[in-house]
Amino acid sequence: MPEYRWPEMSKRKVMGKRLNRLDGIEKASGRAKYCSDINKPGMLHGATLVCPYAHARVKSIDTSEAEKHPGVAGVHVVSPPGTEIYWAHCEVAFVAAETELAARDALKKIKVEYEVLPHVVHEADLKKVQDRAKAAGEQIEGDPDQALKEAAVVSEGFYGIPVLEHCCLEPHGSVVSWTPDNKVEFNPSTQAVTSIRGDMARALNVPAANVHVHQDHIGGGFGSKFQPDRWGEAAARLSKAAGGRPVKLFLERNVEQVIAGCRPSAFARIKLGATKDGKITLWESQSWATGGFTGGGSPPIPYVYTRIPNQRKNHSAVSTNTAPIRAWRAPNHQQASYLTCAAMEDLAAKLKMDPLELFLKNVDLTARPDTYERQLKKAAELAEWKKLWHPRGDSGRGHLKRGLGIGVCTWGGAGHDSTARCNIHPDGTVEVELGSQDLGTGTRTIIAQVAAESLGLQVNDIRVKIGDTNYPPSGTSGGSTTVGGVSSSTRKATINALTKLFEEVAPALGAPATELEAVDGKIQVKGNPAKSLTWKAACAKLGVKTISETGQNIPRDAPKEGLNTGGVGGVQIADVTVDVETGVVKMNRIVAVQDCGTIINPKTAESQVYGAIIMSICGALMEERIMDAVTGRMLNNEMEFYKLAGIKDIGEIVVHLEIDEINDKRGVIGLGEPPAVGGIAAIANAVANAIGVRVPLVPMTPMNVLNALSGRMS
C-alpha cells in the first residue's frame, strides 16, 4: 500500500507556495473561452419567453406567428395551456433562430392568454402572509420558562435579512446540439461537469453515454449552477428539431436576475437571557423565511453558540410567488450568523458589556471553544479593538460615527468524491485528468501543485485536464469540497503512477522499487542523488508504454487517510463609519481570521477570503431583491439597482489564515464558503455600535439606517 499522506509541511517544495494561477494569462488576456463565448458553425441562438404574472394559469398559447418569423428555426413551449405558474419570469416558451435579434423578435409574436391569480410576494410582515406561513413546530431544549424567570438581563430584538440574487456575471445557459445519431454535445456554464451529464441524459431520455459535456471556464456559480435547467433541456430539444444544429441559449440579464438563483431571506424576533456577568442562559426565537413558492430557508439558530442551555424555537416557512432558491455560498449560514451575532451584540449593549467580552465569555457554548477564543483575540488585535471600540452609541460629536462589530462562522468542507487519472508518457509528459471544474478558486493550479509535489516536478511539467466527461468522474463544486476532493484524488493517482514508474526503472538503478524516490526532477535511490536518472530518462525506460493510474477520494475513507477533513471556525471584525445625516455606511476595514487545514496555494486561498468578505459587504450594505406588491415582479432585475460593491466601496481587508503545523495536520479543508458567512453580522454590529441603535433590516442602505435613527421601521 503506497504512502499517500502529505509530505511534512517543512519539506514541501511546490505545495504551500504562492504560485500564480496557471490559467491566469489566458483569462486576463480575454483568450479564455467560456461556454457563453462559443460560436459554432451553423449555430442557432435561443431566447426565452417568460410569464409577466406572479401567479397565473396559461389559458392559451399561439406560436404560429412566431414560427413564421424570418430566421426562426423552432419554438418550444414549456408551459402549455392549463399550466399554473407560481412566480413571475417563469419560463413559458423558447425560440431558436438564426440570430439573437430574430429570436427576440419572434418572442413578441407568441400570443399567450393568462388567467391571473392572486399572489403574495412579500414575507417581511408575518401577519400579512396569512395561510402562506407553515409552522415547523416548536423546538425546546432545557427549561426556557424557568430560564426567563431567572435571567438577570433579557434582551429582545427584531432582525431581518433579505433575499439576494446570485448575479453570476456569466448568465446561466449552454450551447448544445442533439444530433440525429441521438448524441448530445453539451457546453453548459456549470459547477457540475460530471453530474450534469446524467441530469441532462435523464431530462432528454437518452443514454448517459451519449451525452458529452465540456466546459473550460465558468463565469461564476456560487451554488446556482448544478442543473441543466429548463433552458438547457429546451435548447437541446430545439437543436433536435433543427436537425442537430447547435443552439446557444443563455438567459438575458433581466431574466437571469430573477429565476437563475437566489438566497432565502430570514426574519426573527429573538430574546436572549443572561446572568448579570454575561453568561447566556436563554434563547427564544420566532423566525420565518421564504425560499420561494415551495418554501425553504431555515437558518440554523442559535449559530455557532449552539449550546445555550435553554431554548425555545419556532420557525415558519413562508411560501411566496417568487422564484425558487438555489444553494448560496454557505446556505443559510449568513442568515444564521447575522441573527445570532446581532442578538448577542444587542445583549452586550443591554448589559453595558464589551461584546468581545461577551463572545469570549460564552465560547464554551460553541463546538470549538479553543478555536473561537484564539480567533476572537487575534481578530481583536488586528482590528485594534482595544483602541477603537467604544460602548454603543458613544461615538463622539459630529455626523460621522465610527463603530466596530463581530461576526462568527463555521463550515464543514472536506473532500467530495473524486477520481483522478495520472498518465506518465515515455517522453516524460505528465497529464492529470479529472471531470472537475475550476470555479475561479484555482482548482487547476492546486491540482498541478499536488501532482508536481508528488512527482518531484514543477507545476509547468504537469498538464491539468479538467472540464470534460471523458475524464474520470469528480464531484460537483458545492459545499467547499472541491479542493479537498481533487487534491486527494490527484495525490493518490500520482503516487500510484509513480509507484509503477519506480517498478519500471528499478532495474536500471539497481535498487528495489520501494527504495526509490522522486526528487527535483529526478528518480533516485533514496538519499543517494548519485544513483539517479533524470525524469525524462526514467520515463524513456517505458519504451512504448504509457502509465495510466487512477486515484480516488472516497469521503467516508478520507479521514483515515488524513488527506482531507472538515470543520472550521472563523471570526470577522468590521470597522465602519456611518454618516448619520445621510445614512451612508462606509467600510473602513474588515479583519478576517480564518481557520483552515493544509493550504496548497496561499495566494489563491487568500483570494477566496478577500472575495468572500467583499461579497459580505455587498450583502450587508447594498444587495436586496425588491419585489413590487402590485405586479408581483422583481423591480431591480438588472445591475443598476441590484447593487454590488465597486472597488471604492470595500475599505481595507485584512486576511489572517491560520496556517501552521498543527492545522496542517488536519489535511485539506475547503475555504470557499466559511469566510463568506460572518461579514454581514460583523458589519451590522459595527453599524449598531457606531450609531447607538440597531438597524434591524439588512441591507443597511441609507433608507434603513435613517429609518432606524429616526425610530421608524421601514
Partner: protein, 182 residues
C-alpha cells in the same frame, strides 16, 4: 426576454433615408484592421464583436452600461461596448482586449500584473478590468492608490477581486514606466 411593462411598445418611427431596419454592410476598424461586417442598425458593438467577429474577450453581463465587463477602447478612451451601436462605431479606432493583451507574444504589463496579484477568480469581468486599467494608466501613468480606486469605479466584479486589482494596477504602473511606456 422579459415582458414589457407597457402592453404595446411605442411604434417605431423610421425617418426616410435612414439605414435599416434590415442588415447593412459596414466597416469597423478593430485592433488596427478594417473589418467588413453586416449588421442591423440596432445591434450593439458588443454583440457584433461577440457574435459576428468572434472577439469574445468583451463579455455581455449587464448589457445596460453598468458593469464594465464589455469595456473596449474607442479612439483610446474606455467605453462600454454594450452602449454603442455598431453603426456608430464606424470610422473610429476600436481596440479590444485581443488587440493588446498578448501583442508581440508577451503579456501586456497590465495582464501580467493582474496574474501576479491574483486579481481574478472566475475571470469573467477580468478582460473588462484589464481594458479599463490600461486606459486609466495611459491617462494616469503615475497614479496614487486613491486614484486607482476612482479610476476603476466603472467595473464590477462578483467574485470580489478588488484587493488584487488595486495592487495589480499599481504594479503595472511601475512596470510600464520601466518598460514600453518609459
Amino acid at each position: 426576454m422579459a415582458p414589457a411593462l407597457l402592453e404595446q411598445p411605442a411604434g417605431a418611427q423610421t425617418a426616410p433615408g435612414v439605414m435599416g431596419p434590415g442588415a447593412v454592410p459596414i466597416t469597423l476598424t478593430i485592433n488596427g484592421k478594417p473589418m467588413k461586417v453586416s449588421v442591423e442598425p440596432r445591434e450593439t458593438l458588443l454583440d457584433v464583436l461577440r457574435n459576428k467577429l468572434d472577439l469574445t474577450g468583451a463579455k455581455r453581463v449587464c448589457d445596460r452600461g453598468t458593469c464594465g465587463a464589455c469595456s473596449v477602447l474607442v479612439n483610446g478612451k474606455v467605453m462600454y461596448a454594450c452602449t454603442i451601436l455598431a453603426i456608430d462605431a464606424q470610422g473610429k479606432q476600436i481596440t479590444t482586449i485581443e488587440g493588446f493583451a498578448l501583442a508581440g507574444g508577451r503579456p501586456h504589463p497590465v495582464v501580467q500584473a493582474f496574474v501576479n496579484n491574483d486579481a481574478q477568480q472566475c475571470g469573467y469581468c477580468t478582460p473588462g478590468f484589464v481594458v479599463a486599467a490600461k486606459a486609466f494608466l495611459d491617462a494616469n501613468p503615475n497614479p496614487t492608490y486613491e486614484q486607482v480606486k476612482d479610476g476603476l469605479g466603472g467595473n464590477l466584479c462578483r467574485c470580489g477581486t478588488y484587493v488584487g486589482v488595486r495592487q495589480a494596477v499599481l504594479e503595472a504602473a511601475k512596470a510600464m514606466k520601466g518598460g514600453r511606456n518609459a
